[in-house]
Amino acid sequence: MILTNRYVTQVAPGKFAIRKECDDWKPTFLTIAPSDQVLPAVVPATGSYTFNVSQPQFDSSRPTWVILNQLILVDATDGASSVFTVQMQDNGHNRNIVRAPLHVKAVFGSAQTPGFIYEPLILSPNSSLRCITKKISGGAVNIYPYWCGYEYVGSDIERVRRILTERQEVVWGYWMTPDIDTAGTTISLAANATVEYITQNSSHSFQGLSLVGKGTGNFSVEIMEGRTRRALSNGSITLNNALGTGNYPHKFDAPFLIQPGASIKWKIKDLSGSSNNISVGMQGKLFNAPMKNIPQIERDLMIPADMLRVF
């Protein structure tokens, strides 16, 4: 049998069939449970708004697995007032996905160009994702957030459970950020000011794959990994020439590796000449393993092609 493409298989000369796996998965659009909040949700002008995203229990007798890989946000005023931060936690594993709050535009995208997670987020039955939002400036905003992916509806649930649980124990998507201390907003810099943050990596290996950021105005950043003293650049890189957004991140040609326990220095400088609310992060994968084991993990715990459809 020769695979002619992702979904249509040539089974014999002149014979083509749709792969069975297409029937085992269906697209899914997850959002806040309607029992918690009928959309739109409101991010208030002050304080924060926290909500959970869990699997819809259309059929509570049948547990399903959901793989999420698209992040889409629409606000009620066509994006003009989406000035808030977002932080996400995987409740099932009690771990952060976004280290410190990031500007929502650095994480989410639109239907036309969704934001994405390098390592798809796997929601097992009864687990959920917690999302904490907080306005940076301006008034309250109505939002429609969606986590899109695919849900298993086939019969081989045991195979799916085994593969997904093994993988998600070891590797997950992650946004590495400076540890800002302003209780859930951005880095607030005065005109032309400079600030340095030292972030201590956990005992996990981080593979940085792209850079994202957002600011009220332009700013520059320098990033250095403390253990190997490897810098991401030989000077300051600016928002406008090196940082992307959730839907258009600035992807690296090769991963930027951060060793377990290493410190990361972020040196950030305002270039706008005015006060600047800054959000910056490095998107990638976190591995619960030494760096040298990553190739083996990617090989041994690979999600089969029929279960992982990342375009």
Binding site: R6, V8, K26, I32
Partner: protein, 324 residues
């Protein structure tokens, strides 16, 4: 032995159109209708009569042509005219004639722009394949009463010259397998199939009018009347409303159900979060399979508080003719 088809190109591999096998006779090319046909000027609709224009994109007599992307140049006309211009595409290509859509489809869901063409093969579909002297033909319908439209369609693709096939046995074998695949697998658009029927609306053509908001809803079904299956990989949508300034810009939301009647969403999907135009369609994380005689349906909610909303939705993917 099964011969392997020549891989089709995808958006990220676009450069290789012009480098394909580095042979002079295998190269990238733009394809446009003959000059006497463009621009297609379709006058405004008069009464119940739509203005129609036809065009043909032809392959030369000495090459096979694969069309990977579609784009258009549209005259500076009002959004109402752009959205209410429909197109019907057919192939006269491989010794047979087939339609690439069951009914005319909003042209904005078929053609992209020069900067962002509608890339048929991205993330996955088969390109349109034309044998030597094969034709891609289309009809443009202007259903707007607001004015005329000026339309110039074009396609970009790969041309495989007959000379190259004679010189390269491997390429020749690959093309034979490719033709076999393309004969049964081809791109397909399914627009809404609900005719509203009121005078001045979308009579006889796809489209749906969602009543004034509140909890006003409308439902539509997509029925696959082909003998084969259709894989839906993308959702495209647009809308028109006369809502007052300051009203919501998100216009409508929708519940989607797959052919097994499984709901795809937890809460209604707001329009901009679940659809896009041909330039940036919403790409489904995994395809929806609509088998022969199956239906897929949706419920639409109008979010505009003071006017009806005309919704244009198109499901796009590929058709696999009746071979299991």
């Amino acid at each position: 032995m099964i011969q392997v088809p020549i891989p089709s190109l995808r958006r990220g591999e676009r450069d290789s159109i012009f480098l394909s096998r580095s042979r002079e006779n295998v190269r990238g090319q733009f394809f446009v209708p003959v000059s006497s046909q463009v621009p297609l000027v379709a006058t405004a609709r008069s009464g119940l009569a739509n203005s129609t224009q036809s065009f043909t994109i032809s392959a030369p007599s000495d090459a096979y042509c694969e069309l990977f992307s579609l784009s258009r140049d549209v005259g500076g006309v009002a959004n109402d005219i752009v959205q209410r211009t429909y197109i019907m595409l057919s192939e006269y290509a491989n010794g047979y004639q087939r339609q690439l859509m069951p009914r005319p489809c909003t042209a904005e869901h078929v053609f992209g722009t020069g900067q962002n063409p509608f890339f048929i093969t991205d993330p996955y579909s088969e390109p349109i394949m034309l044998r030597p002297e094969g034709q891609l033909s289309g009809q443009i319908y202007n259903t707007s009463t607001s004015g005329s439209t000026s339309y110039t369609p074009s396609a970009e693709g790969r041309r495989i010259g007959l000379t190259a096939l004679r010189e390269d046995r491997e390429l020749d074998d690959g093309l034979k397998a490719t033709l076999l695949l393309r004969k049964k697998v081809y791109p397909y658009w399914i627009p809404l199939n609900l005719d509203v029927g009121a005078a001045g609306s979308l009579l006889g053509l796809p489209g749906i009018t969602v009543p004034v908001a509140g909890q006003a809803t409308a439902q539509f079904m997509v029925f696959n009347n082909k003998p084969g299956k259709v894989l839906i990989t993308r959702i495209m949508g647009s809308a028109l409303t006369a809502g007052v300034a300051g009203d919501t810009t998100n216009l409508f939301s929708m519940d989607l159900y797959d052919p097994q009647n499984r709901k795809l969403n937890y809460q209604p999907i707001i329009f901009p979060a679940g659809a896009g135009p041909a330039t940036f369609p919403y790409v489904l994380p995994t395809p929806i399979v609509i088998r022969s005689n199956q239906v897929m349906w949706a419920r639409l909610y109008n979010l505009v508080t003071d006017a009806t909303t005309d919704v244009f939705l198109t499901l796009q993917g590929l058709a696999v003719d009746d071979f299991d």
